[in-house]
Amino acid sequence: MIANSFEYSAPGSLKEALALVADGAKPLAGGMSLIPMMKLRLANPEHLVDIGRLAELNYIREENGSIHIGASVTHYDIETSPLLMGKCPLLAETASYIGDIQVRNRGTLGGSVAHADPSADYPAALQALEAQIVLTSAEETRTISAEEFFVDTFTTALEEGEIVTEIIVPIDAGLTGTSYQKFLQPASGFAIVGVAARVRQAEGKFSMVRVGVTGLSGNSYRATRVEAALDGKDANDENIRAAAALVASGQDSSSDLHASAEYRAHLAVAYAARALRSALSRSA
């Protein structure tokens, strides 16, 4: 399990890195996704540009009512960030479900997002948070929604020459409750399904519901039918169960060695209900 040979650059600035990416170099951050694929010789980049150590991309800060997270922030830093734990606990909680201590120490938010693994954890949270993803190339910077960003299995809206530089998540008012619930693939620890729920209630009714799902199908998504079914309804378990039952509708449930399409869809329903219940209990 030895990677093919490649050229390696570790530029000191984002600008230099973007120039190399513009020339066709592949960005490397924590390497938790890319390096195993290179060792299996499934990915054979000729030139890697190491952006994992760029201080310019390593920050978590509050700005204009949102939290801005640099792409090279590690899962561990997200999991333990007081700012996120206080103001966007869903992202911190989701990070705590990724892999194991060593992987969280090394893997980065930007790397995971750009890889767009259909079983990765973050996409569920980013969908539920209606996060914004900042893409930068040597020429320009643009910001798109998570929903637009995750196009398909291992496929994103990244254009050639672009890298993910920042993720922007909202600060929710005090009465928002969130939860990420995950059914693990037992060998790898990836999500067979993972559901992130974000709810707000007013006078015993759901006033805002956002549900993001990963693992079920080839791409993460917002379960808008579930959201619509709960909007304005009484915040109770019966309504949650009825709405959660819609989570897989319209989705092409994946089937593999670890879960059939039928079982996955069932788990999505069960975990949507669990996530909604848990989020609701945290929203008081």
């Binding site: 399990m1 040979s5 010789r41 037992p186 060998a187 790898s188 060695l257 069960a270």
Partner: protein
């Protein structure tokens, strides 16, 4: 010379921490991959991506042209090397010739086709990537039952029925028993393919010294001496000029109880190039080419009366052999037949084993080797019978156990169980876990709609391998005790422990017998140039067989030391006492120390009549029988009906492994065994698809227990010493693996029994359980 002799603390039976650990916890132990030699070359192996294919041609030119590549060898180059050895034999056994590199056809994914040698391991890997083969793929067959069907693709074209052997065994008269029985129940039970996955993959370093005509081979093996004999034969070398070293070995579980193609291949390459060469197996290669375990489809039939008396058991066992026989492949399912009666006294059995070739890596001995499958079969059938008769499964077991006065107990399959009191052990387990209370709790849980299960397995195993006539390659073991002139003691065992801890337990035994501090004792193993011929480590044999050999060698040392002591004390060798490191004349109270005796024995100026200088003894000990540990494992589980997930609430293991040398080591063996047994019950499965691809071929997809998946294991022991060996030990290496698997399945079946569930095949994945629940509601 009269001295006050201080009583020394006896160490056998104590929780002595391991003497092998300092090197392991400091990162200074040496495994095969750590071996470095001047001008070391590296090998990478090009392997078949196909389950079955003909090789039209191989083009190695691009690999050879790569700078840094030194040589490439293919099947035509190795025709002078002997093929892979299978030591097992059965009447009419078909043995395909298993060359160390494929010839014109490949038989399973991972089959070695070519080897690339370079000065750098990365370049060797690059070179292997440049080999081009013109393949003509053919249809593979990986399911043993499909392989037996008419018209199935032939794994070996010369044997179109894919049948390597058919083995029949009968005891008593099963047909008559079944005809007279009030109840006859049948169940198909799968014991799925498992991948042993020792944490250290295999690896070989071979170093040929042409001037000496000598070959040194470091290999990650459980059987260094057998490997030496086989390698010498394959390579046409003098056995005494082949040195095999098993350095630190990072786990085996049976997967390294073998001699694989790569060992002779590296010897061949080193001899060709006159250079040392190293090959380290990748994890993917380990999945594809190191033996797998289990691989049974069992058709079982139990005959009983309504009062719960079991009359007999019938078994048709379809064994997935894989494409070739490794060292013991065909012998493994015959062990399942021997153990099919379990702990029960019924007299009638009928068994047929059909060994089936498939396009898969061979199966062979994996922890328990044939006995977990047998135990799973009988323990499941007993529970199925209990459910049918609406009897408590514990009560049914009590009713059919061989009684404590029945020993030595001759089983329906012709084994003689050495000692035991099965009911007493189950008593302890039931009491410790409060079985009656649990059944009440279960009734309450069921009333609440919860799925709580209690599963019992009372397992027995045949281990301490074993009498030589009953084993394919010698079942004795050897030990040398060498007392140095200073009185320091070197023990050399023919066992080859690789984690089991005999550097400690054997030092405990020697310290007690000789009355020397344990720090004065060094236990050596695993190097054929240092240690007398031995058989190795497998089949829970280190203590019960290797320890027995050590015991007798220590008695020889004691006898000789007493002769020297008596001579030095001017006393009678028959009456002197050797105890606590002193030889004392009881008449005078005078004594000499063991160290003084050692010095005198080497000084040589006083030699007892009929004796000779030196203080060294070697013994080869042949056991008269196997030993038969047994136990009762009970698992309390609960199933989440929404997801099918199983939670283990409690795990109770009460084992009788005979006398215990070091309880700390015993606990460790038991816990590890339980983990592997639960692994089979719940998660592990080596899955081949119909094209011969191993789809669970990485840790990403093959689930093994992690810390968070394991329950806390509560354990206790009853002790019934084995009369077979002087230590009274039985063996513990495989007990946990054998006891745990049926207890787990019985527990979950019990949990789901209100739904009418009678049997669940392993692994009991969440989805499988969910479907059982879901299906029953639909």
């Amino acid at each position: 010379m009269a001295t006050t002799v201080t009583k020394l603390e006896k160490l056998v039976g104590k929780r002595v921490r391991r003497r092998e650990d300092p090197r392991l916890i400091t990162g200074t132990a040496m495994y095969v991959e750590d071996v470095k030699l001047p001008d070391l070359h590296h090998a990478a192996i090009f392997r078949s991506p196909h389950g079955a294919a003909n090789i039209r041609s191989i083009d190695v030119s691009k690999a050879l042209a790569l700078p840094g590549v030194v040589a490439v060898y293919t099947g035509k180059d190795i025709l002078g090397v002997g093929s892979v050895v299978c030591a097992a034999d059965l009447p009419g056994l078909r043995k395909p010739v298993h060359h160390i590199l494929a010839q014109d056809r490949v038989y399973f994914v991972g089959h070695a086709v070519a080897v690339v040698i370079a000065k750098d391991r990365y370049i060797a890997a690059d070179g292997a990537d440049l080999i081009e083969v013109d393949w003509a793929p053919t249809q593979a067959v990986t399911d043993p039952e499909k392989a037996l069907a008419a018209g199935a693709p032939a794994v070996h074209p010369e044997w179109p029925d894919n049948t390597a052997f058919v083995f029949d065994q009968k005891g008593g008269d099963y047909a008559a028993a079944a005809a007279s029985a009030e109840v006859v129940l049948r169940q198909r039970i799968i014991s799925q393919r498992l991948v042993p996955n020792a944490m250290e993959t295999r690896g070989v370093v071979a170093d040929w010294k042409a001037a000496d005509r000598s070959l040194t081979v470091w290999t990650s093996t459980q059987i260094p001496h057998l490997a030496r004999s086989i390698l010498a034969g394959q390579l046409g070398l003098d056995e005494n000029r082949v040195r095999v070293i098993a350095p630190e070995v990072g786990g085996g579980f049976g997967s390294k109880l073998n001699v694989y193609p790569e060992e002779a291949l590296m010897g061949f390459v080193s001899m060709k190039l006159n250079k040392p060469v190293k090959w380290i197996e990748s994890r993917r290669e380990n999945f594809q080419t190191t033996i797998h375990g289990r691989g049974h489809v069992d058709y079982l039939e139990i005959a009983a009366n309504r009062d719960g008396t079991i009359l007999g058991l019938k078994l048709k066992l379809i064994q997935d052999l894989g494409a070739y026989h490794q060292l013991l492949t065909p012998a493994i399912p015959t062990l399942s037949v021997l153990m099919m009666p379990g702990l029960y006294k019924f007299r009638n059995i009928e068994a047929q084993v059909i060994g089936v070739f498939t396009n898969a890596v061979p199966t062979d001995a994996y922890r328990g080797a044939g006995r977990p499958e047998a135990t799973h079969g009988i323990e499941r059938m007993v529970d199925i019978l209990a459910a049918e008769l609406k009897m408590d499964p514990a009560e049914l077991r009590y009713k059919n156990f061989a009684g404590k006065d029945d020993f030595p107990f001759l089983t329906a399959t012709g084994l003689t169980y050495d000692s035991g009191d099965y009911a007493a052990t189950l008593d302890v387990a039931l009491e410790k876990i409060d079985y009656k209370g649990l059944r009440k709790e279960q009734a309450k849980a069921r009333a609440e709609g919860r799925y709580m299960g209690i599963g019992i397995s009372t397992y027995g195993e045949l281990c301490a391998f074993g009498p030589s006539p009953a084993t394919p390659a010698g079942g004795w073991e050897s030990a040398t005790v060498k007392v140095e002139p200073s009185g320091k003691v070197t023990v050399m065992t023919g066992c080859s422990p690789h984690g089991q801890g005999q550097e400690t337990s054997f030092a405990q035994i020697a310290a007690d017998e000789l009355g020397v501090p344990i720090d004065d004792i060094l236990v050596l193993h695993g190097d054929t140039a240092i240690v007398q011929y031995g058989i190795g480590t497998f089949g829970s044999r280190n203590t019960a067989v290797g320890g027995a050999a050590l015991h007798y060698a220590l008695q020889d040392i004691r006898d000789k030391a007493k002769k020297f002591g008596a001579k030095m004390l001017d006393a009678d060798a028959e009456t002197v006492i050797l105890e606590d490191g002193h030889c004392t004349d009881p008449k005078t109270g005078n004594s000499v120390t063991f160290q003084q005796i050692a010095a005198a024995a080497y000084r040589g100026n006083i030699i007892p009549t009929g004796s000779e200088p030196g203080l060294v003894a070697t013994r080869f000990w042949e056991p008269s029988n196997f030993a038969y540990p047994y136990g009762a494992h009970i698992i309390v589980s609960e199933v989440d009906p929404e997801t099918g997930q199983i939670t283990i609430k409690r795990y109770m293991a009460v084992d009788d492994i005979g006398n215990i040398i070091n309880p700390l080591l015993v606990d460790g063996q038991l816990h590890g065994g339980v983990a592997q047994g639960l692994g089979q019950a719940l998660w592990e499965h080596g899955v081949y698809d119909d094209n011969g691809q191993l789809v669970t071929g990485e840790f990403m997809d093959y689930t093994m227990p992690r810390a968070r998946m394991m329950p806390w294991v509560e354990s206790a022991h009853t002790i019934t010493p084995s009369p077979v060996n002087p230590l009274g030990a039985k063996g513990v290496g495989e007990a946990g693996t054998i006891g745990s698997t049926p207890a787990m399945v019985n527990s979950v079946v019990d949990a789901l029994s209100p739904l009418g569930v009678r049997h669940i095949d392993m692994p009991m994945t969440s989805e499988k359980i969910w479907k059982l629940i879901h299906g029953s509601k639909a």
